[in-house]
Subunit: 178 residues, 2 copies
């Protein structure tokens, strides 16, 4: 069935502290101003409602992503723009999402590890370096960067505002408000 | 924020074999014909995407309902009518859903146990009686009927078509197509 539809999954991948949620917040606000239906499925929200049982092993991370993907698919096919700021370190899992969700764009928030670690807004890198947190992406757990993301946001070179505008432009190019 | 919205969660509770999914199928088709956004979150669909890890203990059943509720809330607030045909045997958990989801209606598919067992479409009652399935609602696990459902469907007295029409009328009275 061919039908104009406005749903789009925008999958923000990148290290902890890269700026994924900050960019999402700006994008969400701008899209709401423009009349879009928007949801943000960030890790904390989803963990409370959907994935409280999961840890940080590869299997648990994969299950986490699959559950988020399930919800994202349901929302996007009902014309919602879904912003997903989750580290999602494994390329295969992101590719699985791309294959499953009809309307999908990957945004690589490519802030280098050194910058993320210097910011360390939540103090997590310090704890990870001290061994107080295990399986921390970029420290003792892998991160596989996207090979062909629809967009790369370089928060270490551009302002948050510029990144937000880039993402909003991407979304506008892929959707049309009914 | 006051806003016209068309989302509604319609929670179908009742025993296995009561006719929840059959009614949902008819309602879904009719609503689509009328131009509604609709999703059906039935047990099988949700189990694959969201709750594969869960069994039938009370704790697991509660987690199952909470995850379905999380998704239902996201969809209804984006103007989707969400049909949820799940046994959901515990009153407290259904009341929790009612409290969390802005727009909610409970449909009690009240087919008596004897009728469900006689139908036994999936052969599950036979297995439960033989002890091959444990924790089967109505046999060796409790079912707590709703006290004040928005609607009761008596599939043992009315036709499926009548039940479908009743549910569709309920939904129309609670929503407005934009």
């Amino acid at each position: 069935m061919s039908k104009l539809h406005n749903g789009l999954a925008v999958w923000f991948t990148g290290l902890s502290g890269a700026g994924k949620s900050t960019i999402c917040d700006g994008v969400e606000q701008e899209l709401r101003n423009q009349g879009y239906r928007v949801e943000v499925l960030d890790g904390d929200v989803v963990r409370e409602g959907l994935t409280k049982d999961l840890g940080f092993s590869k299997a648990d991370r994969d299950t986490n992503i699959r559950r988020i993907g399930f919800v994202t698919k349901l929302l996007t096919r009902n014309d919602v723009v879904v912003l997903v700021p989750v580290i999602s370190p494994y390329r295969a899992m992101r590719d699985e999402m791309r294959a499953q969700i009809d309307s999908f764009a990957e945004v690589y928030v490519s802030t280098p590890l050194a910058v993320c670690e210097q910011r360390d807004v939540k103090g997590l890198y310090k704890k990870a370096r001290a061994g107080e947190i295990k399986q921390f992406t970029g420290i003792d757990d892998p991160y596989e960067p996207p090979l062909n993301p629809e967009l790369e946001c370089k928060t270490h070179e551009s302002s948050v505002e510029d990144c937000v505008h880039q993402v909003v432009a991407l979304i506008q190019s892929r959707t049309a408000i009914a």
